[in-house]
C-alpha cells in the first residue's frame, strides 16, 4: 500500500534539481540578453589582452614610414597611424593596458575601500566620523581632477595611473560597504555569533563580508569600465600612459592632429574604449538584476 502511494506521488510531483546560489545567479544572469552581450565583448577584450602576441598581425610599436595613415585595407584591417603602425595591432595590445589598469585600479579601490568601509560600518563612533569626513573630502574633488593631481605628484606611467585611479575610486567602495555593514551588524545572526564568543575579525570575515559581496561585485564591474575611461582620459591629455606604448586614450590624442586627413586614427581607438565601457556597464546591470532581482525595473 505504502509503495503504491510513493509511486503515485513520484509520478505526480515533478522532481526539482536543487540548485546552488551561484547556479541560480548564473541562470538569472544568462537570461539577460544585454548582460550576455556585455560578457561576450568583455571576453573578446580579455582574449585580446591575454593573447595579443598571437592575435595582433604586426608589432604595435614598429614604424613603417612608407605606409603612414593608410585607410583600412586587407593588409591593415583598421589602417595605419601617422608613423605607419598597424592600428588593429595597437588596439589589441592596448586592451592589455586598459584591462590591467581596470582590474588593478579596481582591486586597489576594492581592498582599501572595503577595509575602510568595514571599519566605519562595524565600529562606528569617532573612527567612522573621521574616515567618512575624509571620504567626503575626496568626493568633493571631481575624480578626473583627483587623478590629475595624484599623477602630477607621482609622475606619469602605468603604475602611477593605476594608483591614482585606485585612490579616486576608494570613496565609492567605502560608502557602499559601510552602508551594508551598518545594516548587517544589528542582524540576529551576527549578534548570535557575537554571543557565542566569536571575535570581531571572525564575524567580519565569516558573516559580514560574504553578505556585502553583491553590491561590491556590481560596483567593481561598473568601476572597471569607468577606470578604463579614466585611464584613457589621463592619457588623452598627456598625463597617463605615454606614447609609443599602445594605449587607447593616447592613440586618440595623437590621432586628433590628423582629424581631417585621417579620421580613422581617432575612430577605432574611440570605438574600443566605448566597447569596453559599454560591456562593463551591461554586465554591471545584468549582475545587479541577477544578484538582487528586487532591484530589477
Amino acid at each position: 500500500m505504502n509503495n503504491t502511494t510513493n509511486t503515485a506521488t513520484s509520478q505526480t510531483l515533478p522532481v526539482y534539481k536543487k540548485r546552488g546560489q551561484g547556479a541560480e545567479i548564473w541562470r538569472r544572469f544568462r537570461q539577460n540578453k544585454n548582460a550576455m552581450v556585455g560578457m561576450c565583448i568583455f571576453l573578446v577584450l580579455v582574449s585580446f589582452a591575454l593573447f595579443a602576441e598571437f592575435i595582433a598581425p604586426y608589432d604595435p610599436i614598429e614604424q613603417d614610414l612608407l605606409n603612414i595613415m593608410q585607410t583600412p585595407s586587407r593588409q591593415h584591417i583598421l589602417g595605419t597611424d601617422e608613423l605607419g603602425r598597424d592600428i588593429f595591432s595597437r588596439i589589441v595590445y592596448g586592451s592589455r593596458i586598459s584591462m590591467t589598469v581596470g582590474l588593478i585600479a579596481v582591486g586597489i579601490a576594492f581592498v582599501a575601500g572595503s577595509a575602510l568601509g568595514v571599519i566605519c560600518g562595524y565600529y562606528g563612533g569617532i573612527l567612522d566620523n573621521v574616515i567618512m569626513r575624509f571620504v567626503d573630502i575626496l568626493m568633493s574633488i571631481p575624480a578626473i581632477l583627483l587623478n590629475i593631481s595624484i599623477v602630477a605628484a607621482l609622475g606619469t606611467g602605468l603604475q602611477n595611473v593605476m594608483i591614482a585611479i585606485g585612490i579616486s575610486n576608494v570613496p565609492r567602495f567605502c560608502r557602499i560597504i559601510r552602508a551594508s555593514v551598518m545594516s548587517l551588524r544589528e542582524q540576529e545572526f551576527v549578534e548570535a555569533s557575537r554571543a557565542a564568543g566569536a571575535k570581531d575579525l571572525y564575524i567580519v570575515m565569516r558573516h559580514i563580508i560574504p553578505n556585502c559581496l553583491a553590491p561590491l561585485i556590481i560596483q567593481a564591474t561598473v568601476s572597471i569600465g569607468s577606470s578604463i575611461l579614466q585611464c584613457a582620459s589621463l592619457s588623452f591629455i598627456g598625463l597617463g600612459i605615454v606614447p609609443p606604448t599602445p594605449e587607447w586614450g593616447a592613440m586618440l590624442s595623437t590621432g586628433r592632429d590628423f582629424l581631417r586627413k585621417a579620421p580613422h586614427l581617432t575612430t577605432f581607438p574611440g570605438l574600443a574604449i566605448m566597447a569596453a565601457v559599454y560591456a562593463m556597464n551591461l554586465m554591471g546591470d545584468g549582475l545587479r538584476d541577477a544578484l538582487d532581482p528586487k532591484l530589477k525595473n
Binding site: S140, A153, L252, L259, I273, M274
Partner: protein
C-alpha cells in the same frame, strides 16, 4: 530651514579645509623645485637658494601649509610661475568660461535627459523606449573627448557649420556644451525613466486617471513632480561631473577655462595655478551640492517640514 542651510554651510568649512590639506600635500610631494622652475635653466645655485629662502620653501611642511591657508583666507592663491600674474586674477578670467560651459552642458543634459526619460516611461517597452535606452547606454559609455572629436569632425571640418575652437560667441559654445551634456543626458534619462516608472504605478496616479485627467497632465503634474527628487540629485552630481569634465572638453576645443589652464599648468609644473584651480572647482562643487539640498526642500514639502 534657515538653520539647516546655516548648518550645511558650516559643514562645508571642514570639507574645504580638508581639500586644502590634500591639494597642498599633493603639490608639496610633487617632484621639482619651484625656485628652479621660476628661474629656469642656467640659474646659479646661489640664486636658486636665495629665491627658495625668499619663498619660504625651506620651511617645514606645517609652517608652509599654515602660510598657504592664511594667504588663501586673504584671497592670495599665489603667483603664476609662467607669467607672474596672481592666480586669483587668472581664476577670475577663466572661471566664468568654465561655469558658462558647465551650466550650458547641464541645460543640454537636463532637457534631453528629462524628455527622453519621461517619454520612455510613459511609453514603456515601445520602440522609442528601446531605442532611447540603448542610446542612453551607449551615450554613457562614450568617452567625452572622443565624442567631442567626432562632433568637431562632422560639424566643423566637414559641414563647416560651427567653429572648432575658441569661446568668443554662443556658436563657439554649442559643440563643447553638447559634448559635455550628452553623456550626462544618458544618465538623467535612465534615472528619470526608472523614477517615473516607480511613481506611475502608484495609486494616486490611477486616481488621477480615474478622475478623467488627460494623460499628459497626469504625467507632468502628478508623476513627474514626485519622480523629480532622485533626478535632482543626479542633476546635481552631473553638474560636478561637468566641472571635472571641463578639463577634457576645454582642452579639445581650446577654451580658456579653468580646466585647460590646469592641464597646461601641470605640464609646466606651475603648482600655484593647479592648486588654485582644484580649490576653485571643489568649492563650486560644494556650493552646487548645497543648492541641490535646498532645492529638495522646495520640490518635496515632506523634506521641508523636517527642518521646521
Amino acid at each position: 530651514m534657515i538653520k539647516y542651510i546655516l548648518r550645511r554651510i558650516l559643514m562645508m568649512i571642514p570639507v574645504m579645509l580638508g581639500v586644502t590639506i590634500i591639494v597642498f600635500t599633493m603639490m608639496y610631494i610633487t617632484p621639482g623645485d619651484p625656485a628652479e622652475i621660476i628661474l629656469e635653466d642656467g640659474a646659479t645655485p646661489e640664486a636658486v637658494a636665495e629665491l627658495r629662502e625668499e619663498m619660504g620653501l625651506d620651511d617645514p611642511y606645517l609652517v608652509r601649509y599654515f602660510r598657504f591657508v592664511s594667504d588663501l583666507l586673504h584671497g592670495d592663491l599665489g603667483t603664476c610661475y609662467a607669467i607672474g600674474q596672481p592666480v586669483f586674477d587668472r581664476l577670475v578670467q577663466t572661471f566664468p568660461n568654465t561655469m558658462k560651459l558647465a551650466a550650458l552642458a547641464v541645460l543640454v543634459s537636463t532637457t534631453l535627459g528629462l524628455l527622453m526619460g519621461i517619454i520612455s516611461a510613459a511609453k514603456q517597452y515601445s520602440v522609442f523606449d528601446n531605442v532611447a535606452m540603448a542610446l542612453a547606454m551607449m551615450g554613457n559609455a562614450m568617452p567625452n573627448f572622443w565624442q567631442g572629436l567626432l562632433l568637431m569632425l562632422l560639424f566643423s571640418l566637414w559641414l563647416g557649420w560651427l567653429p572648432a575652437s575658441g569661446f568668443s560667441s554662443f556658436k563657439h559654445m554649442i559643440l563643447p556644451a553638447v559634448t559635455m551634456g550628452t553623456s550626462s543626458a544618458a544618465i538623467i534619462a535612465r534615472m528619470t525613466r526608472s523614477s517615473m516608472l516607480e511613481v506611475i504605478r502608484a495609486d494616486y496616479i490611477s486616481t488621477a486617471r480615474a478622475k478623467g485627467q488627460v494623460e499628459y497632465r497626469v504625467i507632468l503634474r502628478h508623476a513627474l513632480k514626485n519622480a523629480l527628487i532622485p533626478v535632482v540629485t543626479i542633476i546635481g552630481i552631473q553638474f560636478g561631473r561637468q566641472l571635472g569634465g571641463a578639463v577634457l572638453t576645454e582642452s579639445i576645443f581650446a577654451i580658456p577655462g579653468v580646466g585647460k589652464m590646469m592641464v597646461d599648468a601641470i605640464k609646466a609644473r606651475n603648482f600655484p595655478v593647479v592648486q588654485g584651480g582644484v580649490l576653485m572647482i571643489a568649492l563650486s562643487l560644494s556650493i552646487v551640492n548645497l543648492l541641490v539640498d535646498i532645492l529638495y526642500a522646495y520640490i518635496d514639502p515632506r523634506i521641508k517640514s523636517q527642518y521646521k
